[in-house]
């Protein structure tokens, strides 16, 4: 594939961003739900 480095770079940045923000959001959401449950049942 011609220009493979540029194409892979573009897709790489996109995938890293989507996975990164997805994981951070999921971790924050799970932590918030867990803490709220713990406080509510205390």
């Amino acid at each position: 594939m011609k220009y493979a480095g540029f194409i892979d770079g573009s897709y790489g940045v996109t995938v890293v961003f989507l996975l990164g923000i997805g994981w951070l959001t999921f971790a924050r959401y799970r932590r918030a739900a867990k803490r709220l449950r713990a406080v509510e049942t205390r």
């Binding site: 540029f6 770079g9 897709y11 940045v13 923000i21 959001t25 959401y29 709220l36």
Partner: protein
């Protein structure tokens, strides 16, 4: 009179439905059950769009395989602009009605929108080098998108810049509203000025100027990016509401104990 009748009566007033659904507790009740489904669908569409564009879509007759960058660049650009339009919308809602859910939405839209704008800028730059011979040119379209990125960063910083959070939300809302002027500049920059950036390939009035074998993966990726953006923002808003509720409960418990 039943509670449903009363609610329907209240909702029939102009704008009342906005307040009804803008209640944080109600938002959490409506959105939380839908989040796993929204995440699954957005992930499936995004993966399908990206794989389709990267592997199966045909190379462009003029740009060759470099045109594959379009399947990440264009959806990211559209989401970046729509995200800012949404930010301006909730900021208007915040300034006019001072609703806490609007402030919360603005706070969570900022980082996600900035991320998509960053992806748009980087992928565009990586397309520019083989096509134009330069990673960056001070072209009207590129510069206005860079301004959009700085507006997002300014919004993120401003919202956290005050000891009193209400002041931060107000200042950031005004910045978001003023910055919305940049959106038509981005859209029409390729018509108003002689830009190196190509003109609009797809428009609401003019239809699509690309063949369906390239249009379909682009639309699938775009749908995936839009849904991912909405899912991320809603999940972050739910997390923020739960964090606030936890804080309130802990403060109440501490006051009771004091």
């Amino acid at each position: 009179m039943s509670e449903n009748t009363l609610t329907a009566g209240r909702m029939s007033k102009t704008g009342a439905w906005l307040h009804y659904f803008a209640n944080p507790g109600r938002f959490l009740r409506f959105v939380r059950p839908a989040l796993p489904w929204a995440a699954a669908v957005s992930m499936a569409l995004t993966v399908a769009g990206l794989v389709w564009g990267y592997v199966f879509a045909p190379a462009d007759w003029e740009q060759g395989d470099a045109a594959r960058i379009m399947y990440v660049h264009v959806p990211a650009a559209w989401v970046a602009m729509s995200g800012y339009a949404m930010l301006a919308g909730v900021s208007f809602f915040s300034v006019v009605w001072r609703h806490p859910l609007a402030d919360l939405a603005a706070e969570e839209i900022g980082p996600v929108g900035a991320g998509f704008t960053f992806v748009c800028l980087v992928s565009g730059s990586l397309w520019g080098k083989p096509m134009w011979g330069a990673y960056w040119v001070w072209d009207a379209r590129l510069t206005s998108v860079l301004v959009l990125f700085f507006l997002y960063l300014g919004h993120i910083a401003l919202i956290r810049a005050f000891d009193n959070p209400a002041h931060g939300y107000r200042a950031a809302a005004i910045l978001a509203l003023v910055g919305a002027i940049n959106l038509p500049i981005i859209v029409f920059s390729v018509q108003w000025w002689n830009t190196l950036h190509q003109g609009n390939t797809i428009s609401v009035s003019g239809g699509a100027k690309i063949y369906i074998t390239m249009l379909y993966p682009l639309l699938v990726a775009t749908l995936g990016f839009y849904l991912s953006f909405l899912t991320l923002v809603c999940a972050r808003m739910c997390a923020a509401i739960m964090e606030r509720r936890t804080r309130t409960l802990l403060v109440a418990a501490a006051e009771r104990g004091a």
